[in-house]
Symmetry: C2
Subunit: 250 residues, 2 copies
């Protein structure tokens, strides 16, 4: 059997972020699976079938893709960013290990530039020192776990990259997270709001924890909240740069 499955990171959107490893895995595949808008980023190739599915169908998508590979096809499951970060790699590996029909399918994970890296690079270097990566979505974990992790991130004085800060239906979490962090951190703490970074509609704004307006944040956003050491560098005629230095005083 020649079937195999690659879980491929497309990066933040623009092809300039797509690694040669990911490009090769996409070129090699006979069938592509993924959330529709991610599949739409992959140029069409002859003799390559496409199997879009909805955002919340990760388990069913993994089963379908593994079944196709078990039948002998070279399959790629695509994710935005890195498939190993809040994405399809763990789902595919978990489904594969739990079903003996899929035991013979080799599964390979191809990393990609994450949204956090893209936002950080556009803003300066706010993740230049120790940091936390945290999803604010309570779809797959209870809010008390999220609150506990925010508390811990604050107690450790980590910079924090916040995925899924809000959606149309989740409007309260970011306000709660901001208030929780304000109990530990100065209101002047820099916050980077990146929207659709890596796409033509990219916006990067720099604000502060005290002035962060959750109403301005939607599901296309990723936030980076600074640590106590994070600073905004201002130079006349240039956009503000946000950095977290490598050196920590003490």
């Amino acid at each position: 059997m020649s079937g195999r499955l690659a879980v491929v990171g497309l990066g933040p959107g623009d092809p300039r972020y797509l690694t040669p490893d990911a490009e090769a895995a996409l070129g090699d595949a006979e069938a592509l699976y993924g959330y529709g808008p991610y599949l739409d980023r992959v140029p069409a190739r002859a003799r390559q079938s496409r199997h879009p599915s909805d955002n919340r169908e990760e388990g069913a998508r993994a089963v379908a893709a593994l079944r196709h590979a078990a039948e002998g096809a070279r399959v790629a499951v695509v994710s935005g960013g890195d498939p190993g970060v809040f994405a399809m790699a763990s789902v595919v590996l978990e489904v594969a290990a739990g079903d003996e029909r899929f035991a013979a399918v080799p599964v390979h994970v191809v990393p990609g530039i994450t949204a956090a890296q893209a936002v950080a690079s556009q803003a300066g270097a706010p993740l230049g020192h120790d940091y936390v990566v945290l999803s604010l979505s309570d779809r797959l974990k209870p809010w008390d776990v999220i609150a506990r992790r925010l508390q811990a991130a604050a107690a450790g004085d980590f910079a924090i990259a916040i995925y899924n800060p809000a959606s149309r239906s989740r409007r309260q979490q970011l306000a709660d997270a901001r208030d929780l962090l304000l109990a530990h951190r100065d209101p002047g703490t820099p916050v980077v709001v990146g929207r659709a970074v890596g796409t033509p509609n990219q916006q990067v704004t720099v604000t502060t924890l005290g002035e962060l307006d959750p109403e301005q944040v939607d599901m296309r956003c990723l936030l980076i909240v600074g640590s106590s050491q994070t600073r905004v560098l201002r130079t006349a005629g240039r956009p503000d740069r946000v950095i977290t230095p490598r050196r920590y005083p003490g």
Copy 2:
């Protein structure tokens, strides 16, 4: 003045991880600056000067590269992994903002695949849910900050990617970190040890927090310590896969 400076992430080593954005920035540069072993990864190009420097000379390297760009050259400062993560981007931006000779030099950060992503992708998806990225080196921050952050990472039940776990002279930190984490986490917690991942000498081993032997860890290693939810998936005839599921019980 046409001078400009790009801080470029080379990724973990193998060119298959080098993004087109990074490749373009390297190709455009008239002068390359960086730690010698990172510069050695960049193929030689005609009419491109190379300025290697030692590992601990980040500040002097940033000044030299910015001065060269201020004279009108297109300069690239290269970093392994992502220049925004424990690397040159924050140093260059900080030096540039603090010296009016460099105020006119545009500085651009080009992200790269990190060592943590490379190790995670080779091991499965151990960073599939909320996680911490932490350097164990006390060269630029005091140990009590590191200990406080390890405590916080443990309290938040984060998976933890540990950079700089040891060097020839730093042998005690990893044993101390392991003991600190064992006060909070099960000894059976999976630990991934990646050595030189992304190079021909790559090794990835899976152990547990209780069995982790600091003597086996050196400066080429990156560790990923699981959360309470991280599991090892075993399939006959395949390497063990380590995943942290997207779903958190409760």
